[in-house]
């Protein structure tokens, strides 16, 4: 075990965990004031449930000894017991195996939390709890095994995904699409006023996400080396370029550059660089971020044409941004940055690598969408996914949690 590598992985794990409360603020600001606590609660409860399930079994399903065909890890790591000296297949990785498992736990937490961005304002709290628990075991853990475990079938095909363009971004985007199709749109959408209640809250959330993303991307090297440094620099480059890309789109298309657009662009840039972070040059990262920002700015407008209520654009930013990243990785990856990587189509590599990147993106899209659709449908037919129209009108803060986010005094306090 290498102490420096292990320390880097543990620090990165803490950084990635911090992204989930950041996401709670980002999402909390974008909903109406009657639903702030509810979406934040979804993020909080993901931190609890995913942790417990990951230690018990989900971590093992993702990183345990392969049960055959690279489809699913077994029970060898269940309960975080008997981990041994290295994780199955992680030859030459010097960070402590348990540090890698807990680092990966944080990825699972934020991926589950991302789904709440599509389901805001109308999902029953118990249904959300059940949804992400089952989804973790049946959707997330298998995909993480295919791509992140060296014994997974996509990894063995030569698929590269540095920090989760497929596992986190495409999975969250297309899982969310499946859930919102079963759940239905918010009553009144898109006609009624559903403007963000606090853009400053969202901006604070993006600041935290940006900070945490250094752990997310640079930590994925699992070692304190030049690949980690590249991933760190590339994350910053892509966030900056993504922010600018989104603003350029808004300025040209709608004449006003908005703060929420700037924040969304930074996120889109970082989503796009996620699979590429340790495999591309900083110049490529600027281009990837810029395209991520531009394409996602267009993508979030599609829902109005097709009338699916992906309320806070999990598909438009994470699903689409992840796809952009995977395609550009197939084009721009270079072994000069990471000897263990590959060369892309534009950088001297062949069609094979580009092809497997597209295949991985497609497989993860189709699997995460269909499996999540089935889970959501079963929950809807049993305990029900959606609150009653009256509860929806009242707001989920009051109807699901008996709380209000903002107590402004009012008549109830006039005598105190």
């Amino acid at each position: 075990m290498n102490t420096v590598d292990t320390m880097w992985v543990l620090v990165s794990a803490a950084l990635v965990l911090f992204m989930t409360p950041g996401l709670a603020l980002f999402y909390g600001g974008m909903v109406r004031s009657k639903n702030v606590l509810s979406v934040m609660m979804n993020n909080l409860v993901a931190m609890s449930l995913v942790t417990i399930l990951w230690v018990l079994i989900a971590g093992s399903l993702a990183f345990g000894t392969d049960l055959g065909g690279g489809l699913i890890g077994g029970f060898s790591l269940a309960g975080f017991a008997n981990i041994g000296n290295e994780l199955p297949g992680f030859h030459g990785v010097m960070a402590s195996p348990m540090s890698i498992l807990v680092y990966q736990m944080m990825f699972a937490i934020i991926t589950a939390a991302l789904i709440s961005g599509g389901t805001v304002d109308r999902i029953k709290f118990p249904a959300f709890v059940l949804l992400i628990s089952v989804w973790l075991l049946l959707v997330y853990s298998p995909i993480a095994h295919w791509v992140f475990s060296p014994e997974g079938w996509l990894a063995k095909l030569g698929v590269l995904d540095f920090a989760g363009g497929t596992v986190v971004e495409i999975t969250s985007g297309f899982s969310t699409l499946a859930v919102v199709l079963v759940l239905g749109k918010r009553s009144g959408w898109p006609k009624d006023q559903m403007a963000p209640h606090s853009v400053p809250l969202s901006l604070l959330g993006v600041g935290i996400l940006w900070f945490g993303w250094f752990g997310f991307n640079a930590g994925s090297s699992l070692a304190m080396n030049s690949v980690a440094v590249h991933a760190f620099v590339n994350t910053q480059c892509a966030a900056a370029a993504g922010l600018l890309g989104w603003l350029i789109f808004e300025k040209v298309k709608e004449s006003y550059p908005t703060t929420l657009g700037a924040a969304s662009g930074a996120v889109a840039g970082m989503v796009a660089i996620t699979p590429c972070a340790g495999f591309v040059t900083p110049m490529a990262a600027l281009l990837i971020g810029l395209l991520g920002g531009l394409v996602c700015a267009m993508a979030v407008r599609i829902k109005f044409r097709f009338r699916y209520d992906d309320s806070l654009d999990v598909l438009g930013v994470h699903g689409v941004g992840g796809l952009v990243g995977m395609v550009l990785l197939g084009l721009l990856a270079t072994k000069s940055v990471n000897a263990a990587g590959a060369n892309g189509l534009f950088t001297g590599g062949g069609f094979h690598f580009f092809g497997v990147e597209l295949l991985a993106a497609l497989v993860v899209m189709v699997f995460s969408f269909s499996a999540t659709w089935v889970i959501a449908k079963v929950i809807d037919l049993t305990i029900g996914l959606r609150v009653t129209p009256e509860e929806e009108f009242t707001g989920l803060d009051l109807s699901q949690h008996a709380e209000s986010a903002y107590s402004m005094g009012g008549m109830g306090r006039i005598s105190s």
Binding site: Q193, E254, T258, G261, F304
Partner: protein, 112 residues
């Protein structure tokens, strides 16, 4: 006595207050209001979704004055709240039966 109610642009409140103070008007009640007239609302855009905000923020000023002061005060409010653009607001006057000062129990003009 008369109750003068003025609904004006928020950034004109200080001008109106300064003018009325210089005329010896010792009190006013101010509240934040929202509404629309010919100005109608404005639109906001979040991630490409356009929202029309129908109600424009305004400030409502209420002042009770003696009958003979009424015209003078109304003119002062109008001239100091005016910008000449749409949305400057309105002023209206309502008769008041009586006024009581809570601390002393004085009634009518003495309570002003």
């Amino acid at each position: 006595m008369k109750l003068i109610v003025a609904v004006i642009k928020p950034f004109k409140v200080d001008d109106v207050k300064t003018t009325l103070k210089s005329m010896g008007i010792d009190g006013m009640t101010v509240s934040e209001a929202q509404g629309y007239g010919r100005q109608s609302g404005h639109s906001e855009v979040y991630r490409g979704a356009e929202y029309t905000i129908d109600f424009v923020p305004k400030v409502r000023i209420e002042i009770v004055v003696d009958d003979e002061q009424t015209d003078e005060v109304v003119s002062a409010i109008v001239s100091s709240a005016e910008t000449g653009t749409i949305g400057d607001g309105k002023v209206w006057v309502i008769p008041v039966e009586t006024v009581v000062r809570v601390r002393t129990g004085e009634r009518g003009s003495d309570a002003l």
